[in-house]
Structures are given as C-alpha cells and as structure tokens.
C-alpha cells in the first residue's frame, strides 16, 4: 500500500483486503465498477461473455473489500469478500 506519510501504527492496523468475484455472464458492460473502483482493481477484459459484453477482470491485488463495485453494479454481477490477512493481496478474478 502506498502512503505519502507512513502512519506510526502502520504495522498494528490490519487493513482489510478483498477478493473480487465476478459473475461474468450477468455483466452488461456498463463500466461502472471499472471506472469507479477506488483502487483501480478492475479493467475491461478482452473476452466476451454470453451476452456479448466485455466483463471486468481483476488487474491488481489492491482490493480493500470496500464493496463499492458490489453496491454500484446494477446486475448483481460482481461482489467482494474478505481475503485472509495472512495472504495479503490474494485477489483472483473468480468467475462463475
């Protein structure tokens, strides 16, 4: 995580980390999750889903489990869940 100033208790605080789950075939390609993820975790994939849209894919392991993508998505096509603290940054583009 990038800090412009390292907090004194940086190693005491456990920052939430998340895994992004993408239900590719529900996506209609609106781009909201990609555009507004605060950690820029997502980008358009090059593959097509069953509807012909490009669903998002995970491009980094910076997800903080803020659930914004889950809340903004109009299609119930994406959600995040907490990832284990012992394996920070373990984000996968799990698909169903």
């Amino acid at each position: 995580m990038k800090y412009w100033r390292v907090p004194l208790d940086a190693d005491a605080v456990d920052v939430t980390r998340g895994i992004v789950h993408i239900l590719e075939d529900r996506c209609k390609g609106c781009g909201y999750c990609i555009e507004f993820c605060p950690r820029e975790v997502l980008e358009f994939s090059r593959t097509f889903n069953a509807k012909g849209y490009h669903p998002p894919r995970v491009r980094n392991d910076d997800c903080l489990n803020c659930h914004y993508c889950e809340l903004i998505c109009p299609e119930f096509a994406i959600f995040s869940s907490a990832s284990s603290p012992s394996s920070p940054g373990l984000t996968t583009g799990a698909t169903e």
């Binding site: 920052v15 789950h21 209609k28 609106c30 909201y32 809340l71 903004i72 109009p74 119930f76 959600f79």
Partner: protein, 281 residues
C-alpha cells in the same frame, strides 16, 4: 473496521441473492441503467436493518422503476400507474405492523401519482418512498416528465423542454414528509444508508435517487451513462440539512445531495389508533 473478518469461508454467491427472485434474472433494465443500482442499494438497506423479510412489503407503480417490485423476493405488488402509494396506504392501515416500501419512478410518483404523494406525506403515513429520478418516462421511450430539466430534449419535446421541473425535496417538505434525502445511485453507500435509516424510523420517508437513463434520456441529450455518473461525482455538493427551497437542480445551484430533514412526528396509524381505538393503546 480495522480487522479483516474471518476469511475462512469465501462466499460464492452474490450476497443479495436471497432477496432477489433469481428465476427472473436478468432483469429488463438497460446496460448502464441506474435503476439496478438503486434497487441494489434498497436491498442492501433491507439487509442492513436486520428486520426479518416477512415484515416487509414492496409496492411499485408502472414504469421501468416500477419493475423493481417484480425482482425483489419479498411480498411485492406491481400496481397501476401512479397508485403505488394508496395501495401502500391500504396495506399499512390494515396491518400497521408491516414495513411498507414504495419503489417507483419520478413520472409514476409525481405526475399521475402526485396527488397521492402529497396526501400520504401530509398524513405522515409510515411508509418509505424510494423515487428513482431519471428525469424522464423511460419505459415508454423517453417522454418529458415533471422532473425533466428545462430545455432538455425528450421524445415529446424535440426542440427542448419548455417547462421547468419539480424540486422534489421541496414538494415533499411542503406536503409534510418527515424524512427527506436526495442521493444519486453513484453515491451508493449513502443511498443505501439513507434507505436503511428510513426503514428503521417511523414516518413518511422520501428518498430521491438520481439515476441515468442512458438509452431514452441520455442518447437524446448527448450523455452516456458514464457521463452522467461523472457528472454526479464532480458536480454533487453534499449539504446535509440544506433547506429544501434551495434544492432545485439547475446550472446555478448545482446538484445538492444529502439528508435534508429527519424529524419526529406521530404517524397516521398511531394517531388513528390513539383517537379511534384508544382501548388498544
């Protein structure tokens, strides 16, 4: 929260699926339509309250937003155009224990349904009204609505809207609503929290949820769905407690969001019981 919760169990199912009629998904809303986001915020709010789902009922009218009742997995009613609020009134007065949500659009609630809105607000009927305001009549192809901005294009005002729109929070305020908030679907967390607060409180709660209509409003007015959301992100000014008279959405004032009113006042079912069935109190 600064501790990561126990991640031993990784969910594989979208957390809202128990509240959605999954046998009717995909829904009819267009790609980029904000109704799905407002709907998601509403479902999130229902879960947040912790109130058992059996205590809720959702009533909607006709229109794209009106389809919301068809997708929620609780007792739900898709009624006639403009009449969701009196239907909800009937439910609430016949069974005051129920938590009644009205989920409908700006045209349905404020044009044909306008009279019902003001009277339910006046009575402080204990219902929560979530109005998806996409500035148009989306379902029928993008006709001008009571909320369409002045000079905006619509299918029945091809040279621009000659009218000026309602200031919905002011209308709600003047009619007697006791909880008034306006958010956009971009402000998803605030919107969900506002709906949850409304569900938990007693009284007539009104939440205006601004939303893009990319196909029937956006295309005519040269706005993509993302343009609209960027507009919400950049132009929104959050001013909790602002006076509703200052809340018209215009170039001059900008887009003011927030919680504008939250007061306690006896609800209609409480007053009716106290005055007419005092032996039950």
């Amino acid at each position: 929260m600064t501790r990561t919760p126990n991640a031993a169990v990784t969910p594989t199912v979208h957390p809202l699926e128990d509240l959605v009629r999954m046998d009717r998904i995909p829904h009819i809303w267009c790609p980029g339509c904000g109704i799905g986001s407002v709907f998601t915020a509403c479902l999130t709010a229902i879960k947040q309250t912790g109130i058992p789902y059996e205590h809720f009922a959702m009533v909607s009218g006709i229109g794209c937003s009106g389809r919301g009742a068809g997708y929620i997995n609780i007792d739900s009613f898709h009624t006639t155009h403009g009449r969701a609020i009196p239907f909800a009134t009937g439910i609430k007065m016949a069974n005051p224990k129920l938590n009644v949500i009205v989920f409908s659009g700006d045209g349905d609630l404020f044009a044909i349904g306008g009279n019902h809105f003001i009277h339910a607000a006046r009575r402080n009927m204990d219902i929560t009204v979530v109005c998806v305001n996409n500035l148009t009549y989306g379902m029928t192809g993008g006709q001008v609505a009571a909320t369409t901005p002045h000079k905006a294009r619509s299918s029945t005002t091809t040279a621009g809207n000659p009218e000026t729109p309602f200031n919905l929070p002011l209308l709600a305020y003047a009619a007697g609503a006791t909880y008034i908030a306006r958010w956009s679907m971009f402000h998803a967390r605030d919107l969900a929290d506002a709906i949850a607060a409304a569900l938990r409180r007693r009284g007539f709660s009104f939440i205006e949820a601004l939303s893009p209509c990319p196909v029937n409003y956006g295309r005519r007015n040269r706005e993509t769905a993302l343009d609209t959301l960027r507009h919400y992100q950049e132009k929104a000014i959050i001013k909790n407690g602002a006076h509703p008279a200052e809340l018209d959405i215009s170039g001059a004032r900008g887009l003011i969001l927030g919680k504008f009113l939250d007061i306690e006042k006896p609800t209609h079912d409480e007053v009716y019981k106290r005055m007419y069935r005092p032996e039950e109190v």
